[in-house]
């Protein structure tokens, strides 16, 4: 709050400071401009005075010429009047000649009322009470004040000369005055202040007493000093000083005019007329032309206020956003803290199990059963810990935007089989009713990031398994459709469960990292809250869609749709002999899709919806003397299951017809019973065309080929593997694990040693190389590249499998690019390692 107040005060001070500067600058600029204007106005006044002087001198000289002429010829008043009348060129001017003693005389123009009367009298005109001011001819300008012409009533001025005239009645020369009279209205026109220079300027001429000779409209009273006193305060001494200045100097002063407005009076003495002065008036406002400065100040003021307002609003918005961001960051922090707390808990839990069980195992090392149980549990805990760490690494990559795709050619069949294989232990554990259906999968090989695709499918399916109660149902559907993109197929992967479902509120945030549904039922389920976030990011990265329909207590259905590129390589065209195949499954949809698949392979399928129907169909066929060439039985059928059905078939119809048992479950549990019942082969779901093709052909051609038992590793026993590993413990672990499967191994402490060892080895000395990546002297990638360049083709083509903690897909891609044949991530899963070894071996064969 105090900060806000200080900020407001600071803003206000800045605004006030700027405005003060602008006002002061404007004020001084205005003052300067005003002074210049005043000087210019004074100069104009002087110029006007020169014009006035010339005019007065001109008018007076005319009067002088007349006077000289009259005096020189000793004219009578009448003759002089006649002479002047004859000399008149201006219509409005006139002349009066009057005796100085009587102030009576003649006018050149008649009285306006009595047009025959030329006599004029100045007795009632207070001009000639004192005539001392009238100079002799040619010596000065003698001009009267403005007065009323007694002959025509016009306000006029008179240029005057003293003359002498001859009075023939008295026979003597008398003193007289010659008045050349000019109407004020004429003078006003000539003495108008040029408005082009200064608008509203007015001109006045005053005599030494301040009486107006010429009076501008804004000059009030009949006397300038009276006018001044009427609207301004001035003492006697100051007034006298003003009077002295006006008739002796050129300058200006300000005063209030009759409207109370300040005006400037510029004055200058009229040199040719003793005591006269020219006064020019102009309102001060007319000289203050810099009104734009006030506009500037106004604009700046408004601008600053607007800026302030905008800044305030903007700052508030920023603050609001920052607050929101802070809240979000706090929320994210809290989420991360919660996550770390959860992680801590989740990591500590399996770690606790591992450490605790290891201690128990050490204590009970002699108790084989207990030891085995402990090791099994340690293995489970380790596996969970690995998943947890992988998820954390993935989400960190997702959040940093470094998640990228590394497409390879892969078999969707393998991926789905892998998915089923991985899921089966959990499905089995929770006794979930699991179904997987394949629909129109025609393109087996696709070009995509298999690892990420697997991850998507596994995440979704494992979620379904996790959140479905024991005994629940999960159905997986994989459908291939035509894609809008050329060279692509659209795979729709649907996982539907009847699990606990999700609330709408959670569904809004379920793709956000670290989010887990707040539900007492969920709390007991292990999870990182990252799976869906990772899945969504990966689907987005693959330009696919993920849709979810869920209802609490009813279940959840996730649908993932991806357009995947079809690989160039496809399996050869599979074609079965035209054999009769009986398929028995209580899943109508699956029954239908398998029948279609078999038909597409060239077989003649017949469908049985139960074990009993299958038996009946076989009986019916045998009654016609025919037989089925192959029988495919689902294991978990209602009524008679697969094993019982097989037993009856063998009992009723003998052992001639090959029987294949299929299931989405792990068949190893019933393998012995099935074999005893007469089953010849096993086929895990989903039933891809290649799965069916291979299984049927193998059964028919090579007799029944038993599934290799899980603990039979004779096929890989005796292999010799070169392992490049710099870490002693890792070496010991892998060496010991391989030894368990009858595989021998030899260590190379880095890439360089590995290259040298292989170089010096016999051609068939090693079947495979496990290559660590990060090693001293020479890393795994460089070592592989070097090996691939060996001249010895056998050595150069020796399979190399990366065995590294660099587990991201780009690491995998990098390994493959360097020439490796596979990738095993640390910590190693020995089952996966064995699978890789087998794959290599099969390829070698």
């Amino acid at each position: 709050m105090i900060k806000k107040i200080w900020l407001s005060v600071l803003n206000a001070l800045i605004i006030v400071g700027i405005l003060t500067f602008v006002v002061l600058y404007s004020y001084f600029d205005h003052e300067k401009d005003y002074r210049n204007q005043v000087v210019r106005f004074e100069d104009m006044t002087v110029a006007m005075e020169h014009v006035t002087e010339n005019y007065l001198q001109g008018e007076q000289s005319i009067c002088d010429v007349w006077a000289n002429y009259i005096v020189g010829r000793n004219m009578t008043l009448s003759d002089a009047t006649e002479f002047i009348r004859a000399s008149h060129v201006l219509q409005n001017t006139s002349a009066h000649l009057i005796y100085t003693d009587t102030l009576r005389g003649l006018s050149t123009r008649s009285n306006i009322i009595n047009t025959d009367n030329y006599e004029v009298s100045y007795n009632q005109v207070d001009i000639f009470g004192n005539m001392e001011w009238i100079a002799d001819i040619g010596e000065d300008i003698n001009m009267s004040r403005a007065y009323t012409n007694p002959m025509n009533g016009e306000q006029s001025l008179a240029f005057i000369n003293k003359i002498t005239v001859y009075d023939d009645t008295l026979d003597e020369t008398r003193n007289a005055l010659l008045l050349r009279i000019i109407p004020i209205s004429d003078l006003k026109e000539k003495w108008a202040f040029p408005q082009s220079e200064f608008e509203n300027a007015e001109l006045s001429v005053i005599n030494s007493d301040g009486d107006y000779i010429i009076k501008g409209n804004s000059f009030k009273n009949n006397n300038f000093y009276e006018f001044y006193k009427s609207y301004n305060t001035i003492g006697g001494a100051a007034l006298q000083e003003l009077k002295d200045n006006v008739i002796s100097a050129t300058a200006s002063f300000t005063m209030n005019d009759s409207k109370g407005q300040p005006c400037l009076i510029a004055y200058t003495p009229i040199k040719v007329a003793n005591g006269w002065a020219m006064l020019n008036y102009i309102p001060v406002s007319a000289l203050s032309s810099k009104t734009e400065n006030w506009i500037l100040i106004g604009v700046i003021t408004v601008g600053l206020l607007v800026l302030l307002a905008v800044n305030t609003i903007y700052m508030r918005l920023i603050n609001k956003r920052l607050q929101q961001m802070a809240k979000e960051a706090e929320s994210a922090n809290r989420a991360k803290t919660d996550f770390l707390s959860t992680m801590s808990h989740d990591i500590r839990t399996p770690m606790n199990a591992i450490i605790g069980l290891t201690t128990i195992a050490e204590q009970k090392i002699e108790d084989r059963k207990s030891l085995s149980d402990s090791l099994r549990k340690i293995s489970l805990a380790s596996s969970h810990l690995l998943t947890l760490i992988n998820d954390i690494l993935d989400i960190s990559k997702v959040e940093s935007g470094k998640l990228s795709l590394n497409p390879i050619t892969f078999s969707i069949v393998d991926s789905i089989e892998n998915l089923v294989n991985i899921s089966q232990p959990m499905i089995k554990e929770k006794t979930i009713d699991f179904n997987i259906r394949i629909n129109h999968i025609e393109q087996e090989y696709l070009f995509a990031d298999q690892m990420r695709l697997n991850q998507i499918y596994i995440n979704i399916l494992s979620n379904a398994i996790k959140y479905t109660q024991a005994g629940g149902t999960i159905g997986v559907d994989l459908k291939e459709e035509k894609s809008e993109k050329a060279g692509y197929v659209r795979l729709t992967f649907t996982v539907a469960d009847n699990g606990m479902g999700m609330s709408p509120e959670f569904m809004e945030i379920m793709y956000q990292p670290f989010s887990r549904q707040t539900d007492s039922r969920v709390n007991s389920i292990q999870g990182t809250g990252l799976g869906l976030a990772i899945t969504k990011k990966m689907v987005d990265l693959m330009e696919g869609t993920i849709d979810c329909q869920s209802k609490v207590g009813v279940g959840t259905t996730f649908t993932i749709t991806l357009d995947l590129r079809v690989a160039d390589r496809q399996p050869e065209k599979m074609r079965l002999d035209p054999i009769d195949i009986l398929i028995a499954d209580d899943d109508d949809v699956l029954l239908e899709t398998v029948a279609e698949t078999l038909e597409s392979l060239g077989g003649r399928p017949e469908k049985a919806h139960s074990g009993q129907e299958a038996i009946d169909l076989i009986g019916n066929r045998q009654a016609t003397g025919k037989n089925f060439d192959v029988i495919i039985l689902d294991w978990k059928m209602k009524g008679l299951d697969g094993v019982e059905t097989a037993k009856k078939i063998r009992g009723e119809f003998g052992a001639t017809i090959p029987i294949i048992m299929t299931s989405a479950y792990d068949l190893s549990d019933i393998e012995t019973a099935a074999k005893d019942a007469g089953v010849n082969g096993f086929m895990g779901k989903p039933l891809f065309p290649s799965t069916l093709f291979t299984a049927i052909n193998e059964l028919r051609g090579v007799e029944a080929k038993a599934i290799e038992p899980e603990d039979d590793y004779s096929d890989i026993a005796g292999l010799n593997i070169l392992i490049a590993e710099d870490n002693e413990i890792n070496w010991e672990i892998i060496h010991a694990l391989l030894e368990m499967f009858g595989i021998t191994s030899e260590r190379a402490v880095n890439g360089k040693v590995c290259v040298e060892r292989l170089s010096n080895a016999k051609d068939d000395e090693f079947d495979l190389i496990f290559m660590d990546i990060q090693m001293p002297e020479m890393n795994g990638l460089d070592a592989t590249r070097t090996i691939r360049k060996f001249e010895n083709a056998k050595k150069a083509n020796l399979p190399i499998i990366a065995m590294t903690a660099d587990a991201f897909s780009e690491n995998v891609a990098e390994c493959l690019k360097a020439g490796m044949n596979g990738h095993v991530a640390k910590p190693i899963d020995i089952k996966f390692v064995i699978k890789e070894i087998r794959k290599i071996k099969e390829n070698k064969q």
Partner: protein, 429 residues
Amino acid sequence: MKKFLCLILAVLIVFPFAACKFTTGETDVEFKPTLDTTTSCEINVIGDYGNFEALEAEFDRFNKFYPNVRLSYAKTDNYQKTLRTVLEGNDKPNIFFSYTWMIGNPDYNQVLTHMEDLSDPALKLDLDCIRPSLVNHDAEGRVLMVPVFSRTYGMLVNENLFKKEGLSVPKTLTELMSVCEAFRNKGYSSPMMGYSRTSSSCFMYTVAYPLFLSALAENPDALALANDLDSEAGEYMRPALNAVKQLIDNDCVDLEECANIGNNYDGVILRFFEGDVPMMICAGDTVSGTKKRESQSEAFTKAPFDYTFAPIPMTEDGGYFIDSPSIEFSVNKDCDNLDMTNEFMRFLISKKELNKIASVKRLVTPTTDMPFDSVYAPFGRIPSERTISPEVLGIKDKLTVQIRIASYKVGKGEITIDGAIGKYGQFSE
């Protein structure tokens, strides 16, 4: 920040309202222009005032409505003699001063022909705002002139001197005599003063005129005789002339002191401002010059004092308020821009403007409101029965000449009261 913004907004909101209020107060909302306010023309007023600042202030106010109309006032030399020439010349005024004595005076018959009938309803002049006793209708019922000021007669009273000497301003003749004696005893050689060099505006006339009118008002037959300058009317001057003589004989007025007053305007005012004259007899026209001359008087500037203009209590019932027009305005019906001239007259002839111009000029307003200037406060207390309107009474100008000269001569001792009475009708300028 909020407060700062609120303050600025408040200023922005309040300021225009404040400005509106200020503007409303300045503008005369009663007057509404009827002509194009952009009209550009000139209006000239002529008269015998040396200057007329109060009228020039009216010009400025009128310019608020018609900014392009240039109005000016000019003094005409030898006004009364020149007026006709001016009216018939090339420089025709729009408005000119006029006086009631012009009506019926053959010398001004031609002048009257130039006057517009201001009672013409088309002009929409608010003549009702003027006291009816001041509005003069001619034989045809026309109103050729409208009063701008009212004139009365009385005395300037130095209130400070009365306070200083512990005296009260007199309200009856007895009190006046008593106060004069008291002042005299306190060293004031002339408790009352006035202009006395010529009969024009002399104090004797100022004292006598109200009393003479009062006498004539009580006797209509005598009024007729007086207007006809019948010598029999002279007797009605006796109370007035007695009063003049009484003031002089009782040393209320020192004639020698009065003779030092050079003129009946500046001289009277500046003498009064010397501060040692308790009562200065003069007409209201003189009072109009007091305000302006306060600053011109060094004595008054140094030692200013309060003063009022009061009726001269020349009877035991007090004084009189002679309510007569001072100057009047007539419109030259032959002038240029007659419409705008009438518009100006419509503007001027209103209570508001007439009161203003009278206040500035320090004369009595002719309006029915009679909002006297504080200087005129004593006249505001005069009962209506002691108000005399010469125009209502029917006083003719030649009658006033008789009482003016008679009182002047009696006051100066040039003639006896009886002699003056006997010469009634024979006095001339």
